[in-house]
Symmetry: D2
Subunit: 307 residues, 4 copies
C-alpha cells in the first residue's frame, strides 16, 4: 500500500444469461446477492467482505471482463493517483458517483496490457454478511455452496507485461511478489501485490489484449476445496484443473468455468508478501511446475481458453 | 502500512536457561536457529521468514520481554519516524548497526504502556529457510516439532492503552482492527495492524507497565494445532488453554508456557484487516466469549500470569 | 463380529421436551428426522446410515437411556444368542416386531451394569439419506448443523464392569479394545468393539446402575469439530469439554449436553481395533491423560453428571 | 469376518532394485523397516499396525505381486478354511512356519483371477511402532515422508471376476461392498470387505491373469494427501492421478508409481461397510465418475499400466 491503493474492490464481469450466472456465482460459489440496478446489473460479495459488493455481473452477448476497480485510501489519494496516471501517459476518464451502485466517483484507465482498471475512494460499507457489529460470531449461518469468503484477485492476459508491471509498480505502488522469467530474462508473468497477499493482480503475456484468464475467490481450507470439487461434479459444472497446488504462491486451487465460459478459481493458502521481499522467480521452461506443482504440465486449454 | 512500518521484525525475549529455551523454541515450536552472538544471544526464525531472524533469546535472571522491533521501508522512513516520535514527545534513543546481528541502526522508544519498541530499516535477508531461490518447493523438509511458520505478533499488557493506541495510530500508521470496550466506553484492549493481519501488536490494560502476555507464532492449519497440542503433552510442556477459537479475530489458538514462564501462542486462521475497516468491537462484559469463544470464560491465570 | 453381532443399531433416549430435543438432535447435530410413531416417539438417523433410524427420542419426566439395541446378522443368530444369554443366566424378555417402527422382534436383557440392551435381526433399510442408489454422490446437499454421520457408540456407567465385560466378550463376541486398570488390576473402564471401531460400547465403573455418560455421533474431520464447537456457542448450547483429543482411542472430541441434560459427544478419528489386538491399557492413576490427553485432568462434573 | 478372516495381513511385492525401493517405501511413503531375511527380503509396516510387518519386498527381474496373505482368527479357522478351499475345488499348498519371518504356517491358493493368496493364523505382534504399551501417545515422533498408517488393500486385475467374487464370498466370508456393473449386468469390478472397511480387496476385469493394479496405504487426512502430493514432486516420483476423490467408496486418493513401476495409492476417508449393507452400484458406462469423481474420465494408462 505504498501509494494508498488498498485492494481489488470490484470486478465487472460479462455473462450471457443472468439467471444461469446467479445459479453459478450465488448458489454454487456461495457469494451473497446484495442488489440489482436499473441497468440489470447484479451485485454480489463474499461474506467476509466489509464493502457492499465486489462482483458486478452484467448481461452481454460475449463473456469477459469489463473492468477491475481498486479501492484507495481517500479522495486525496484518488486525486493524486489520477494526476500521476495522466503524467505517466495514461488515457484517463472518470465515472460519476452512483454510476455503480453505492460507489463514489471512479477514475478509469487502460493498462498497456489492454485491460481497463479504475480507482475509487468510496463505497458503502455494509459489514461482513450475516454477522453482528458487536461480539460477532466467527461465521454466519445460511451460507450456500462453496461459501466463498471474498473476491481475491484476477489473472489477466495480454501484451506488454513489463510495461504493465512498471505502471503498477511506479504509479500504483504495487510490488512484484512472484515472476516467471523467460531464458532471455523477459518477465512473461508478473504476480503483483498491494498488500500482504501473494497477489492482488497477475499479468501473463499473450498477444491478445484485455483477456481474462480467471477471477479468483478465497475459500478457507484445503478441506473446503475438496467439497468445492465435489460440488462441481454434483452440479455438472465444467472443471478445468484441480484440486492441486500451485508452484507460484504455493496456494491450493481448483479451476472451473462459469456457464458463459469465464474461468473461475477457488483457492486457499499460499505464501504472503511484504514490500521488501525480493520476488520469487520461476523459470518459463518449468512453467508446468510453476503453475501445477503436482501435475508438472499444463493442459493446452489452460493457456488458450480466455474470455 | 500508512507510515512505512512493514511488520513486527523481531522480539528479544529473556529466558532463564538457554539450552532449555532452545529445546522449547527450536525443537518443539520448530523455529530455525540461525546464529549466536558474543553476548550469548541466540537468533531464530520461522521457516517462511525472509529476514535472517525474528526471535532473539537472551539469558537472564528473570523472564520477559526486552523489546520488539518493527521493520520500516527504508532509511528515509526511519529518519522521518524518529523525528515524528520525538515531536510526539517520546524519549528516543538509538543503537548502532551491528549491535544486533546483521541488523542496521535501531531507533528505540518506550510506549506509554511501558514497553520498549524499536524501528529499523535494514536486516540481512537470507530467504525462506530450506527453499531454493528459483522454483522453490512449497515447504522445506527437515522441519521439527510444530513447524512454526513465523513470529507473528505479541500481546502486551500495561497501563495507558488509549495513549499507546494513539501513538501507534498517529505516529506509526497502525489501524485499530479490533477492540474491547468497557461499559464506560474506555478501550481496554486494542488490537492493532500495520498490514492485512488482524493484529501485528495488541495492548491490554493492566496496572503493571511493560508486561508480556504472550508471543505468538503462526501455524498453517487447525490440523497443525491438534498436532501441536499433542506435542505439548508428549513433551510435558505446560499448556494454558486450547485448542480453541478466539472471538477476537476468530483465530484458532493454543496457549502454553516456555520453560522460563513466558506465555507462547501458536495459532492459525482468523480475520483479515484493511485500513478502511471499522474496528470490530467486543464488550468487556463478554470478555470470556471475546477471548475464548468456545469456553466463554477466562481462567484467572490467563490475565494474571505475565512476564 | 465373532458371534454375529454387527453394530449398535439404535438407542432410545428420554428427553423432557420433544421440540427442544429436535432442535438439538436434528437442527444442531444434524440428524435426519425420519418418522414419528403413535406413542409420540421420534426416529432419527445420521445421513450415512443405511438402516431407517438409529436414535429414538421419547418424551419423559426424566432424561436418560431406555435401551441400546444391537443388530445381529440374521434370525438364526438372534435365536442362538437368546439361548446363550439365558444359559449365561440373564433375564431375557422379548418385544414383538413392529413395537419399534419398522423393526423386527427384539430380544431384551439387562447387563450386570444395570443397562438394558436388546438384539434384533431386522430393520427396514432405507439407504444413505439423500443419495442415489446408483452412482451415489459422496455426500448429500441440505444437511444441517454439525452434519453428524452416524450414531456411533455410548459410554455407560454402572457397577460390575468386569462381569459386564465378560458377558459382552463371552456371549456377544465383543473384544476389549482399550481398558483403564486400577493399581489393584481391576478393570475400571472397558472399551469394547464388535467391529473395526475402537469402541462400539464402553463401560465405566460407578456405584449407580444403568447410567448414561454420553451418546456419541461421528463427524468427518477435526475441521468439522471446530465448526461444531462454534455452533455450540452460536446456539448457546452447554458445552462440557473440547475440542480436544482423547488418550483412550486417540479420537478427537467435544462433549456437550442436550436440553434435557443428556451428555452428547461428537468425535472423529481415533484408533481401529482387530479381534487379535491386545487391549490398549491406561492406568487409572493417569485417568486425566487417558480421557483428556491435552488437559491431563478431568473436570469433576465429567464423572459426576450422568443421566 | 463371517468366516474368521480378519484382514489383509501382508503382501509380497517384487521390486527390481531394493535400495531404490526402500527409498520409496520407507523414506517417502514412511513405512517402517523392521527386518531383512537371508533371502534378501525386506519387511516393512505402517506405524499403526500391531503385527510385525505387512509389506515384504523381494528383488526380482520383473515387478509385480507375489502373493497377498490374510490373517485368520486362529489355527482352527485356518484348518477349516483350508478344507473349505479344497472342497470348493481350489488347488491348495502350504508353507511351513518360519518361511516368512516370524509368521506361522501359510495355506496358499490361486484364485480364478490368477492371483495367489494365502491364509495364516499367527504372526509375531510387536505393537504399534514407537508407542508405549501403557498410556500410549496418539502417534510416534520420527516418522518420515507420508507417514503411512497401514497397508490397507490391493486392487487386482484379472479374468473371472464373478468366480473370484463367489470364492471370496462363499468360502472366505467377504461381503460385496461396491460393484461396477456392465449394461449386461456382469460385475466388472468387485470391491470386497471382511471388515468395516469399504474394501479389503478389489477385483477388476481384464484378460491377463494375476495382475496388480495398485497396493494402497492409508493416510490420516486430506491435508496429509496434499503433503504427500507435494512430496511426490519434491522427490521426482512419477505421479499417476490425484489428489482427487473416488466415486467408488468416496475415498480421497493419489496414485503414483514405485521405481519398479508398481502402482501405489495413498488414500484417506471414504465409506464404511457392514455385512448387511447392499452393495453400492456404479454403472460401467460411468466408470470415469466411479473412479475419478472430480475428473469424470480415466487416463488410458490407468487401466493399462499393470504389473
Amino acid at each position: 500500500m505504498r501509494k494508498g491503493v488498498i485492494r481489488p474492490g470490484h470486478i465487472q464481469l460479462r455473462v450471457m444469461d443472468m439467471e444461469e450466472a446467479l445459479k453459478h456465482y450465488r448458489d454454487l460459489i456461495g457469494l451473497i446477492e446484495v442488489n440489482r440496478d436499473d441497468k440489470g446489473r447484479v451485485y454480489l460479495k463474499g461474506w467476509t467482505e466489509v464493502d457492499k459488493y465486489s462482483l458486478v455481473l452484467v448481461e452481454s452477448d460475449t463473456p469477459g471482463l469489463d473492468f477491475i476497480g481498486f479501492k484507495v485510501l481517500n479522495d486525496d489519494v484518488l486525486n493524486g493517483l489520477k494526476n500521476d496516471l495522466i503524467e505517466y501517459g495514461c488515457e484517463v476518464s472518470e465515472f460519476p458517483a452512483g454510476e455503480l451502485d453505492s460507489c463514489g466517483r471512479r477514475v478509469s484507465f487502460v493498462a498497456p496490457s489492454g485491460h481497463t482498471f479504475e480507482l475509487f475512494a468510496d463505497k458503502e460499507q455494509t459489514g461482513k454478511w450475516g454477522l453482528a457489529d458487536i461480539n460477532p460470531d466467527p461465521w454466519p449461518l445460511n451460507l450456500t455452496g462453496m461459501k466463498a469468503e471474498r473476491f481475491d484477485h484476477c489473472l489477466l492476459m495480454g501484451p506488454n507485461v513489463p510495461a504493465t508491471q512498471a505502471l503498477f509498480e511506479q504509479v500504483l505502488g504495487f510490488g512484484l511478489s512472484e515472476q516467471v522469467v523467460a531464458p532471455d530474462n523477459t518477465v512473461v508473468a508478473a504476480f503483483m501485490s498491494c498488500s500482504l497477499k501473494a497477489h492482488d493482480i497477475a499479468f501473463v503475456d499473450c498477444p491478445d489484449p484485455g483477456k481474462l484468464h480467471h477471477v479468483s475467490f478465497l475459500l478457507e481450507t484445503w478441506q473446503d476445496l475438496l467439497k468445492a470439487a465435489d460440488l462441481l461434479t454434483m452440479t455438472e459444472t465444467t472443471k478445468d484443473v484441480g484440486p492441486t497446488r500451485h508452484g507460484l504462491t504455493s496456494g491450493q486451487t481448483i479451476y472451473f468455468f462459469d456457464p458463459s465460459g469465464n474461468r473461475n478459481e477457488v483457492f486457499c493458502g499460499g505464501d504472503y508478501y511484504y514490500p521488501d521481499h525480493p520476488p520469487v522467480t520461476w523459470k518459463a521452461e518449468d512453467l508446468g511446475k510453476a503453475i501445477f506443482y503436482h501435475e508438472l504440465y499444463i493442459h493446452p486449454t489452460y493457456l488458450e481458453v480466455l474470455t
